[in-house]
Symmetry: C2
Subunit: 486 residues, 2 copies
């Protein structure tokens, strides 16, 4: 007889009836080949003794097995595994922590893997990041208060049912007002889709604009996730040089005379990664080119709210009168990356198509969270948060750049960024960034190694060094470690 | 002179400095063509009087305009719009509520639109739905308590930073235990990706398994969003008949002998929409076919937790030993649809690819919400919720079916469903479901019209009628209205 005492595992705290658990255990033994067709099962009395349960429970389990078509009862002989079961191959059940041995046997072609080296930002410790906000500043308590209060407010909890894939109507109205007040962008709530961070805006836009063989223009240096997203849509990238005034629009014009470009992706405020701002002259020229050559401009403006020099250039979307701009923004980036809220704004037909596609991806966002953010926009909490953060970040930027200027004069070249949350630092040729990153980690500082910014046409010994997510003491300490690690 | 008093709009409550607002207003006037190159701007004194602000503020605004490259100052003559501005076409700024007139001028090919008729479930009122949970039963307060407590617990709020695109590690561990305890599914946290509802699981799986020209097998009747998701991946659908024992696996076998099928999508428990359950014999045969023909089985088991007859057949994933099953489940469906949490489990290489792709879609989920759900799983709250709901839903199902049996004998044919949250009702030929739906609405009852279930090969005068989201009084009232509306 098989060692049923160890083979049959009962969990008395489970909500599943014990006889069902016994039945399920037998099904596993049958399907994994431990029990073969026509094998006899132990008598109910024997099994009950072995595993310490009531005999009637075993009987119920056997009845269940029989009714599910796994076993048959032969009078006066006992219960047997069905003889005419389909042939089942013998295989071991993998143990929970040995899952890496599970090799799928189906054939699939899209062994997708993006090109971005992964970093675990959840690891604790001192970190110079890529330009993240300081989540300690976010008014999480206020958000939670609204979240909780909303959940109690409505009898029937309609907002917990399915909603629109464009997002909460309340938040769309709030964002519409916010865009108009802060950047002169006229967008009605119908023009707005609430996404999961700006990444979803890029993804939806890419899926709608680009198909296999299309060309999309991006910076020579660019946000790697955007590059990967466009490639995933089947598009080819054409890279446009970026100088201290942003993307070289004359260069783009020469390209446009020769070939069709379906879309251009640009971060006019604080180009990623080099933080340069697109000049107003180039903005106007770009808009004219878009009109003439009928391509879409994907304007990623996730960083708009962080300006230190009181020069908030209007977004392209605010001065475009031909509806060629898809405008993408983020609340995650200004609040907390793990709370995934962003938005996109564009011509209504395009936003409707994006909403339709979004239904296939995740149906809709988290209405409760969206409504809670709407309250924070409407009661001024978000604006207070922006003002407060801006002041703190400006202070940190200044300290950060002072130290860079004083202590790293020969190691790191940089320009003071007008906005955004990071400095683009070009390191001395002799500095091996990978080694530097490893050394720093040994000394207790997480800092990336610059690989994230490289692509097939961009290979500088440089990286973004974020100043916003660490306070002044942390900045001083981080730089002490960095100095030792160079 | 232009009517600056109305053209220049100042918002004194905005966080944007007034001089920046004035500057931005002028930029709009220049870019929309109201002000032309070389036009003179009003003197600072005149404008200050007109719009009621300090003269120095106007001066600052003009300086800003000049420094941004929009205007130039000519000594003793005043400030002029730059003469060498690129030509800008004149266009009206659309008013906020007239956005439907905004026609994009870029060319895009994927004018995506899914085939699903949209329903606004946020509308209040009595509703017989498609089989949704009663969100009034969800322990939202407990969830909020955990949500809030987690947000206060950790200094530094690491969980608010970027995390893994596989989802919160805590929730992956909880789901791993839950799958093992409730359905004998052995999946380590590495095998699990926390998605946004089951829809994201279907989307990711489709994107990885299917490419243009591939074939996917689905039921003759099927969940429309799944059909659309597969088509969006470029796949062709092949439809397999479904009878009272679920999908016809012999029919599938005949197809497999003739052509390559990359994947099969199935809802073995409570097939959508007809609620039939796949027999155990067919389950085993299907698994053998998957092994032999090396196709993937996409097992959508969003409904597993709702069984009334104590016959929880094990999922295909629990009895598959060849790693051919991608298992997709939902917490949204058992808790509240607007809280988007689901999971998928599969071979590690596949889950890693899905996580990689997911980074391009929305980077990651809401870590805070995921961690809060993890606490509810670990402290038994979810299990209490399942047990409680199950008992209530069973009661509602019985009442619902009793009334159908008694009062609608000649109007609606149905089988009592063993599980799930809806009855599949076939209406009398003479009943026009569209008219019925319209009549019901006039009498105060929202009920769909059956179009959602139709496809090119399935056209029954039938629809799902959900019994779970309304209580007993509501059921009685809804049926009174329905009777009048037939």
């Amino acid at each position: 007889m098989l060692p049923y005492k160890t083979l049959i595992q009962i969990d008395r705290n489970s909500s599943v009836n014990i006889y069902i658990q016994v039945c399920n255990n037998f099904v596993s033994l049958i399907t994994n080949g431990t029990l073969q067709p026509s094998d006899v099962l132990p008598s109910s009395r024997v099994l009950a003794d072995l595993i310490g349960i009531n005999r009637n429970t075993v009987k119920l389990a056997y009845e269940e097995l029989i009714s599910q078509g796994w076993a048959e009862s032969v009078e006066r002989k006992g219960v047997f595994v069905l003889s005419k079961l389909p042939v089942i191959s013998k295989a071991k059940i993998p143990e929970p922590n040995k899952s890496h041995n599970q090799q799928e046997s189906f054939i699939w072609t899209n062994h997708f893997s993006n090109s971005i080296p992964s970093t675990n930002f959840q690891k604790t410790g001192l970190r110079i990041d890529d330009g993240f906000p300081d989540v300690r500043l976010a008014p999480v308590d206020q958000l939670m208060r609204e979240y909780r209060s909303l959940s109690r407010k409505f009898y029937g909890k309609n907002f917990l049912k399915y909603g629109s894939s464009k997002g909460s109507e309340h938040l769309r109205i709030s964002i519409s007002n916010y865009l108009s007040n802060t950047r002169g962008l006229v967008a009605s709530p119908d023009n707005i889709l609430i996404s999961k961070g700006s990444q979803m805006g890029i993804y939806l836009t890419a899926q709608l604009l680009l198909t296999i063989g299309d060309t999309v223009a991006v910076g020579v240096s660019n946000y790697g996730y955007a590059d990967d997203t466009f490639k995933h849509s089947g598009a080819k990238l054409i890279r446009i040089p970026v100088d201290e005034n942003g993307m070289d629009i004359d260069y783009l014009e020469n390209i446009l005379r020769k070939q069709i470009i379906k879309a251009l992706y640009i971060i006019p405020h604080h180009h990623f990664p080099t933080t340069v701002t697109l000049s107003m002259e180039r903005r106007l020229k770009l808009l004219n080119l878009a009109r003439e050559y009928r391509f879409a401009i994907i304007e990623d403006d996730y960083d708009f709210d962080f300006h230190y020099e009181n020069k908030p250039y209007l977004p392209l979307a605010s001065i475009d009168h031909n509806h060629n701009v898809i405008y993408i923004g983020s609340i995650s980036k200004t609040f907390a990356p793990a709370l995934r809220i962003g938005f996109m704004s564009g011509p209504p037909a395009f936003i409707n198509a994006a909403a339709s596609l979004r239904e296939l991806i995740d149906k809709q966002g988290d209405t409760l969270l969206e409504d809670a953010f709407s309250v924070l926009f409407n009661n001024g909490e978000m604006e207070r948060h922006f003002r407060k953060s801006l002041k703190i970040y400006k202070h940190r930027r200044n300290l950060f750049c002072d130290i860079l200027e004083t202590d790293f004069k020969n190691d790191i070249e940089f320009e003071i960024p007008e906005g955004g949350l990071a400095v683009w630092g070009t390191f001395d040729k002799k500095t091996d960034l990978i080694k530097m990153s490893q050394n720093a980690l040994k000394n207790g500082l997480h800092i990336d190694n610059g690989l994230f910014y490289k692509n097939e046409s961009f290979d500088k010994n440089a990286m973004r060094i974020g100043f916003a997510s660490i306070d002044e003491n942390e900045i001083i300490k981080a730089f002490e470690i960095l100095k030792k690690s160079l």
